[in-house]
Symmetry: C2
Subunit: 356 residues, 2 copies
DNA sequence: CTGAAAGCGCTAACAG
DNA sequence: CTGTTAGCGCTTTCAG
């Protein structure tokens, strides 16, 4: 390719067309131009003709207002901050994608920042977002206390997304993990009443707690009291899923008969273990929170719980928009129902029988 | 939850601590404070004692400079724009995640925008990013001509990421799809010399062309001339993979003996078809561009090509940083080697035999 | 070594 | 209906 040395360094001369320039060309004042360009011309009853002239000139000059100047003077930055653990986690990626679309359509820019579920990092990225004067903050926090966010909420709206911190009263949009998990667990109990294991993530995270609660509720409904060793917790890393599975199989000397994994990532680890040990064909009932299209392609038919990420994104977005507009939302906590994807033929058969 | 009506609307009073305030408290002028806070105190030989005082006060007041004010006056926004087709595409999500980390560590904010591979939308998001005065632009464009970007490159650095537009001379960081694809194709040819199909995406996209070229090269090396009907193109949607597979199976009256899919998304569609038609156990050799950990968990052992997303991100980031600093980079086109993940036992056996 | 002052581009009163 | 006038918070000469 060898163009290296011909590379011209960008000439940053192209001086920006400012609103002053537009005003000048249109023969009006900056203020008038500003009004017109912000679509508030009728509110201030600017002459039809003046408006058209300004608009035309702006268009032909390809005028692009400086967000920074605007932010500086108006106090709004037209950005939203999104704080998530990891952009590679399928659910968060999905939600982020949906939010990006919603923001784009509303003329906002989404600023995505990852915390890696590490609270020091979370502090830092939140600081950085505040510094950029985001108009609102959407957070899937891994913090233990909502103190930081309560403080922030004094000056700009904060909405908790997918997770909520302890008993925080901050607005939130989450999935109802409990009911769906209970249903899937009940089904596992029908397949294998004498043995239903559970692998979960950090108990400090609300999703973990709700999923565990769902598991326990499901067993209770099935009239089963789980011995302690059925329940295991680590974090949501695939590695942890693998390790928990390895340990369990070693202990039992065989794979478990039924298992519910609290997340797709954990399930990944479990599947990796099964594959490595030629157990993919084993007779094991699996249920999992989170869903992925590829689960449709596995020989092992796993019943899974799919969060409604588009709805999560939509409601969180609406909520924060309302808060930014200083409206009082109808509800400050929204709990969305996930969808269960029954894949196991035995499950499907039982469901059909129930129906008839 | 019913707190709805108690919801206090955020009181946006907490007046921001500005540099003036810091200067005032420290008993110096704004200019001095600015120098100190930007770490250029020794360059201007500010008194040691003065500096410490300013720094201490800034810290205790939790001073956070306004990015917008800074951007306005300095002309830099400390943001990078990333333009990708879709944040849900595994490779792009991975790259975005890595870039986000690199940016964060460098005190930059990454602005991610998706185009859905639609050029009108691409125009729009690029406009929006320019308007936000990004300091540089990283793009995986689906445009046919680099005209837009050549123009932008006059005023700010543009780096092509993962894809390049036609014969564009703009800087780029891409994967060398050709060699790896050729290798995997050769392997498919050894398994099934008389039938090796290929499914690809839009030919206007450079990755599609390189992957196809790799396939053809692999066959050529194997001494095979592919009949036209072996090669099919649509787009990179899973749906298209499914459709192409459905059509092919219908035509043949059986699944193909060997197939290379040009992307993970296409493979997904293919796998879905196979699963739906109970063909997962069929004797079919699959190779694919792109990789995913879950492929380790499939009974069908697929040889796949994993792009080195962290490296892609790293090099693109370094490159654009250099360009922003108006340095002349050593090379303006970087081609990174992907890694082949051999999973098929037959492939692995052959490779071992070759070695000995 | 430090301070004063002039903008960056835009918005928002407040006068005409 | 339109223009004037202050800033928003920070950087950056240019004089002390």
């Amino acid at each position: 390719m060898g163009h290296a040395h011909e590379l011209k360094k960008p000439v940053k001369n192209q001086k920006r067309v400012t609103i002053s320039r537009i005003a000048e060309l249109a023969g009006v004042s900056k203020a008038t131009a500003s009004l017109v360009l912000n679509g508030r011309s009728d509110e201030y009853r600017v002459a039809e003709e003046t408006r058209e002239r300004v608009l035309a000139i702006a268009r032909e000059q390809h005028y692009q207002p400086s967000i920074h100047a605007r932010a500086l003077s108006s106090g709004r930055s037209y950005t939203l901050g999104l704080v998530i653990p990891d952009l590679m986690n399928f659910g968060f990626a999905y939600t982020a994608r949906e939010l990006e679309t919603l923001c784009r359509e509303a003329g906002l820019q989404l600023l995505i920042a990852c915390t890696d579920d590490n609270s020091a990092q979370e502090q830092m990225v939140v600081d950085a977002l505040i510094q950029r004067q985001v108009d609102g903050l959407l957070v899937a926090s891994s913090a233990l206390s909502d103190q930081l966010y309560q403080k922030i909420n004094q000056s700009l709206p904060v909405v908790q997304l997918d997770r909520h911190i302890g008993e925080s009263t901050l607005p939130m949009v989450i999935s109802d993990a409990c009911q769906a998990t209970a249903q899937v667990t009940q089904m596992l109990a029908r397949h294998s009443p004498d043995e239903i294991y559970y692998f979960g993530g950090q108990l400090k995270l609300s999703p973990s707690r709700h999923r565990l609660a769902g598991y326990e509720l499901g067993l209770k409904r099935a009239g089963i009291t789980p011995p302690d060793h059925w329940i295991q917790h680590k974090d949501f890393q695939p590695r942890s899923g693998y390790d928990m599975m390895a340990e369990l199989c070693n202990q039992l000397g065989r794979p478990p008969k039924a298992l519910f994994t609290g997340s797709f990532t954990l399930l990944e680890g479990v599947l990796r273990y099964l594959q490595q040990h030629q157990l993919m064909e084993a007779n094991i009932y699996l249920g999992s929170f989170d869903d992925h299209d590829l689960l449709d392609c596995l020989p092992l038919r796993i019943d899974s719980i799919a969060q409604d990420c588009p709805a999560l994104a939509f409601h969180a977005f609406s909520l924060i928009q309302q808060l930014i507009a200083e409206q009082t939302p109808a509800q400050n906590a929204q709990v969305l129902a996930p969808r269960i994807r029954w894949r196991n033929p035995a499950s499907i058969r039982l469901l059909n029988e129930d129906r008839s």
